[in-house]
Symmetry: C2
């Protein structure tokens, strides 16, 4: 009715504008928007139409300041292009979206010293209601500080430091590795099986190695330190120990590369050296997240439910935010995926 009703409005409406147009108080507008407290049907209808006419959208900042809730989750990662980043993010984004929360993501470049870095944190209590922290993305002191603050946190692929009761989500790395190596031994009768470790502080790698060792032990195969090297969960790095083994003439039946990326590197190195995979040396990976099934030979690996991990972590974080409680540990099952690089078919 008024002269501004024809879509010519150029500035943003506030709750006061809506209240005025609807002929109610801002408290009432707030009530209908948030469904907090009773409102007469007519009143609500008027408010909604005022909102539509003015194209009103509540300011997230004002709402956040007044309610002390940002309605935003944060995701702290390191390498944004890591192999499982895409499905992980998809899970997190999906869970966040469904809950109506917003998602702030930040890829750390390097961990800055806690002293200088404390003030300029990209993600924290100052801009989110809770944080999903990927392994190694936050120093222990910061983790401890946020925890003491009662700030909701969920860790991905990392056990909480010290005695902090921070929930965490990860895969069944050990049993996955165990099954995989069992397969190599039992089905293919390999006995000289090498293992490539991931980066230093990688817990996943630690558990995979444990599974590997358990499998050897269960089959009375002595553990040979000469068959363990660092592949760094990385294509390039993984090629180095393989070349060394080849040069030294180390007898090897199969290589458990630690993860798929390393497996790709291993296969390349092997093929470049004239070795046939799997005929001469078999190779297996872990994760099954890439499109490595197009490789030749198709990669035998262990499927890790990465997307589900992201979703589950989000669910736990939301629960922590809303109820103050969450599962201390979510361990997601892994599953062996047999293709051809192990020697099958």
């Amino acid at each position: 009715m008024s002269s501004t009703s024809d879509g010519k409005a150029i500035s943003r409406a506030t709750i006061a504008d809506v209240a005025e147009r609807a002929g109610v108080s801002i408290a009432t507008v707030s009530r209908v928007i948030n469904e907090t407290g009773p409102v007469a049907e007519d009143t609500a209808a008027q408010v909604w139409s005022a909102i539509a006419e003015l194209k009103y959208r509540p300011s997230a900042a004002a709402k956040g300041l007044a309610s002390r809730r940002t309605h935003t989750l944060g995701f702290l990662v390191s390498e944004i292009s890591a192999p499982f980043f895409t499905p992980l993010l998809r899970g997190i984004e999906g869970g966040t979206r469904e809950s109506g929360y917003s998602l702030l993501i930040h890829a750390i470049q390097e961990i800055e010293p806690a002293v200088t870095g404390a003030f300029r944190r990209p993600l924290g209590e100052h801009n989110t209601d809770g944080l999903l922290v990927f392994a190694g993305c936050l120093e222990d002191v910061e983790l401890a500080y946020l925890y003491k603050l009662g700030f909701p946190l969920v860790l991905l692929h990392q056990t909480p430091p010290n005695d902090l009761a921070i929930p965490y989500v990860t895969f069944e790395n050990k049993s996955g590795a165990r099954k995989l190596v069992d397969h190599l031994i039992e089905v293919h009768d390999y006995r000289r099986i090498a293992f490539l470790r991931g980066p230093e502080d990688q817990e996943d790698s630690y558990w995979r190695e444990l599974g590997y060792r358990e499998a050897l032990e269960a089959h009375d195969i002595p553990f040979d330190p000469a068959l363990v090297a660092v592949g760094g969960f990385n294509e390039k790095l993984a090629q180095i120990p393989v070349r060394t083994w080849l040069e030294q003439g180390t007898a090897i039946d199969a290589i458990f590369a630690g993860d798929d990326e390393a497996a790709v590197g291993v296969i390349s190195a092997l093929q470049q050296a004239g070795q046939r995979v799997p005929e001469d040396i078999a190779v297996v990976g872990f994760d099954d997240v890439h499109l490595y099934h197009y490789m030749l030979p198709p990669l035998t690996t262990v499927h890790a439910p990465v997307e589900q991990a992201g979703r589950e972590a989000t669910v736990q974080l939301l629960q922590l935010i809303q109820t103050g409680q969450a599962q201390p540990l979510v361990l997601l099952p892994t599953e062996m995926v047999i293709r051809r690089s192990c020697g099958c078919e």
Copy 2:
């Protein structure tokens, strides 16, 4: 000095706490933090140490409300697991991080009708300072509304609708496709070259087809509609027309699959039907973003600088936010990557 200086503090400090501890006003604290206005060296030092002691972090909400700036960029995507999503996001995240902004990302599920959806937008003027919009993720009316509001927007892989002067970033699809098809014709002497379109509304696909047609025309090869079908930039979908061609016995020398994903599908379909690639039929893709170089045969394609596109879009958006100006169009160069699926080597 006071009894709360021993790290036992459990609640968050505000600017008032810092001011009190430093013995100054909150205005001064604000000035030292934001380096806005002159402050005596001593005063600043005291403020900084109060900040450190209290582990103070300014509330993003309060800051945003008071300054009318969220210092946050939004990224609106559709399919978070699309092939070029990872590098695109990496570029965006990198650009955002370096500028000190935060990044809010949202994967739309489906475009909701503008009427009902207007109020509950995940990303907009209410929570960001500007938006990076991937092709097709925002309806024209919403785009027009935000534009009229003077809200900073940058489009990715989409030309702005109507006459809106919204900057956009995309690749040189046409010339990339042109060079690729030229190669097939000139080097390999193929003349029956098929083309697989992407999804309906995909502008990239449109330009690639144009490059394809130009190449044919330049070499006096008549355009044959029977050699064009829909591959949907998708592995599964791309297999369908290939099977049809094979069944019908259509003579084909090479297939330009539209993008890499479709190329993978095409190669599978071909190999399953007993055709050799590239001996019987050559296949080429576009994007070069996946790890398809591990495929056999390694895929000949056109490299698209996806990460750079993300970064460039971010740069333009920041510029738009800060200066009100941006380049209307950023066209990033593509480059042919010859591997083996085209018949080379």
